[in-house]
């Protein structure tokens, strides 16, 4: 069972979220960064997923499906925006060191899930600009003790300024 902090009676559990970290909620964590959607990268992603939908590989098939050109797989856009970094900037676990580390009184952070809004298909040749904000930090009480639910929201806009996708990535820190 999970209950929200503060809804139970008695003394509140110690906070895992320092005040200076809580103050970052709403702030920009990354971006704006801009990248062009290329057929090669989108197709490598589709092949790695095992999704050989013709709308990602065959322009005639994409147009027959009602698109204005080759489409990228819906979840690809976040990887199109990943910037290359030197190996020297990785940690022991292989991950790149954080741009702005979130200081929390926890041992580890795990990937908890994602929520996507797809407002328009992303096409090969689009120039996409992404901005990521810290949407929320919520301390919860779980069966294995307290944890923090971290929500980072990224907004993707195309070259016309239209929002084409939004994603909320959930991290679980305990």
């Amino acid at each position: 069972m999970t209950i929200d902090q503060g809804t139970a009676g008695g003394s509140a559990p110690p906070s895992l979220i320092p005040a200076h970290t809580m103050a970052l909620v709403g702030s920009l964590l990354r971006g704006p960064v801009t990248a062009e959607i290329t057929a090669k990268e989108a197709q490598r992603y589709a092949q790695a997923v095992g999704d050989l939908n013709p709308v990602y590989f065959d322009e005639a098939a994409a147009r027959a499906a009602g698109h204005d050109g080759l489409v990228a797989p819906p979840t690809f856009v976040q990887y199109a925006l990943v910037q290359g970094r030197p190996i020297e900037e990785t940690r022991t676990d292989g991950l790149f060191k954080g741009d702005i580390p979130l200081e929390l009184a926890v041992q580890r952070t795990m990937f908890g899930g994602e929520e996507w809004d797809f407002l328009a298909p992303v096409l090969v040749g689009d120039r996409i600009t992404a901005e990521t904000r810290l949407a929320s930090l919520d301390q919860k009480e779980g069966s294995k003790g307290p944890f923090v639910r971290i929500t980072r929201e990224t907004t993707y806009r195309n070259q016309s300024g239209d929002v084409v996708a939004r994603t909320r990535q959930i991290g679980i820190a305990r």
Binding site: R44, Y45, V49, P74, T75, V82, G113, E114, F118
Partner: protein, 137 residues
């Protein structure tokens, strides 16, 4: 084959699709997404972190879920929203089932419960999706 809105009814179940990631696929997905996390290719390191083996990327399973929905909806369908929760890790070289059910229809937009489970029925990744389907002319 194209699915149309009048082919769909609330309560209808989607066909089951089985996915099974090879170790090569995990490596290719790490490469294609520029993800250097060792738990996806270094068994010794994955065990050091308490995993039984290298583990399947959470977002790869999310991409499978997206594909499950877009394959069902057909080329004229449009995925409008997708969410999922990664509850437990998935391992390579094991079968996982993708399943789904229609929960609501409003106009030409269909809401689905979609999820990934073990063949024994343990749900690893519950999710929801919305798709717009074409109308038969």
């Amino acid at each position: 084959m194209q699915l149309f809105i009048d082919d769909v009814a609330v309560g209808q179940e989607l066909p089951v699709v089985v996915r099974n990631a090879s170790r090569v696929q995990l490596f290719m997905y790490s490469a294609a997404t520029w993800n250097p996390h060792r738990i996806h290719y270094d068994v010794d390191y994955a065990r050091f972190e308490g995993h039984p083996d290298v583990i399947v990327h959470g977002p790869l399973q999310g991409a499978w879920l997206s594909q499950y929905v877009t394959d069902w909806a057909g080329p004229q369908g449009r995925i409008l929203g997708l969410s999922w929760q990664n509850r437990a890790s998935a391992l390579p070289e094991l079968d996982y089932e993708f399943r789904g059910r229609v929960t609501a229809i409003e106009g030409d937009v269909v809401s689905l419960d979609v999820w990934e489970q073990t063949p024994e029925g343990a749900v690893l990744m519950p999710g929801q999706a919305t798709v717009r389907l074409p109308t038969r002319s």
